[in-house]
């Protein structure tokens, strides 16, 4: 187990906020890309 001492809350808060922001950015990027590809494919298929 990693010992973070008296600054455990500070370190975990920094990592939590950063990973949440990066995770949200990746999710939004992948979701928007899938949506755009689906919309274009459907439009091209329907002519």
């Amino acid at each position: 187990m990693i010992e973070l001492g008296k600054y455990a809350g500070t370190v975990l808060l920094a990592y939590g906020v950063s990973l949440a922001l990066i995770g949200g950015l990746i999710w939004q990027t992948v979701a928007a890309n899938a949506r755009a590809r689906r919309n274009l494919e459907e439009h091209e298929k329907n002519g």
Partner: protein, 241 residues
């Protein structure tokens, strides 16, 4: 072969389709490796375990500035040569840059509270970083506000030029104004000022990881913008027919 061939959306889509899986894999390995390695480093004798925050803060701050520089180059290519892919790449990069700036500001504030005794100080570097974040938000808002995509690319290109002053200031503010709380560069080529190798190598890996993560996200987001532009063009053609 010329680099301008990639200004062709079809060529760009074909090339990036093959490169993306490798890039995503390399970004994941370096990002996770750098951050986990950084988290496992020993405590600093002054900062204690808060030194682990540097492995998020420094790569995010580095990318916040460099992404704006990349947007500047892409905007200049659009303004001078009118290549649509470059304008879309600048648009695609902005949300990634905004998130990187926010991470740098948030982790800096979280680290600053126990180390400086304050969450925030109107220090030159902190203030110029906050202004850079506001420029990112303004840039994203301007793209959304202007309906005609070419006009939006022109206007955001000019905004990018103006914002570059603050991107440079946020990098060199510590040198311009020899005051404030924020310390100088974390990494130096001069041996006497070098960070210990225990921290330096994981930091290099985390920086590489953040750079590759940005490249992967940039390619995916640019591909999204190209698809949206293609769909809009098809719909406009059908409306006219």
């Amino acid at each position: 072969m010329s680099i301008w061939e990639y200004a062709n959306p079809t060529k760009f889509m074909r090339t990036t389709n093959g490169a993306l899986p490798w890039l995503v894999g390399a970004a994941a390995v370096c990002c996770v490796g750098g951050v986990v390695w950084g988290f496992l480093t020993p405590d600093d004798f002054r900062q204690g375990s808060t030194v682990k925050i540097v492995f998020l803060h420094v790569p995010a701050a580095m990318m916040a500035i460099n992404i704006w520089v990349m947007m500047l180059v892409a905007s200049l290519i659009w303004i001078i040569r009118r290549h649509h892919v470059s304008a879309l790449a600048a648009k695609a990069a902005a949300p990634v840059g905004a998130v990187m700036t926010l991470i740098a500001l948030a982790t800096g504030a979280i680290w600053g509270q126990p180390m400086w005794g304050t969450w925030w100080e109107w220090d030159p570097r902190l203030t110029s970083f906050l202004i850079l974040f506001l420029f990112y938000l303004g840039y994203i808002a301007l793209w959304s506000a202007v309906e005609d995509p070419d006009s939006a690319a022109d206007l955001t290109g000019v905004l990018c030029l103006v914002g570059s002053v603050f991107a440079l200031l946020s990098r060199y503010a510590v040198l311009f104004w020899n005051q404030g709380l924020h310390q100088g560069a974390s990494l130096s080529v001069q041996s006497g000022e070098r960070m210990s190798a225990v921290y330096r190598y994981p930091l290099y890996l985390a920086m590489l990881g953040f750079f590759l993560l940005f490249l992967a996200l940039l390619l995916i987001r640019t591909r999204t913008e190209i698809r949206k532009r293609r769909l809009a063009a098809l719909q406009a053609r059908e409306m006219r027919a």
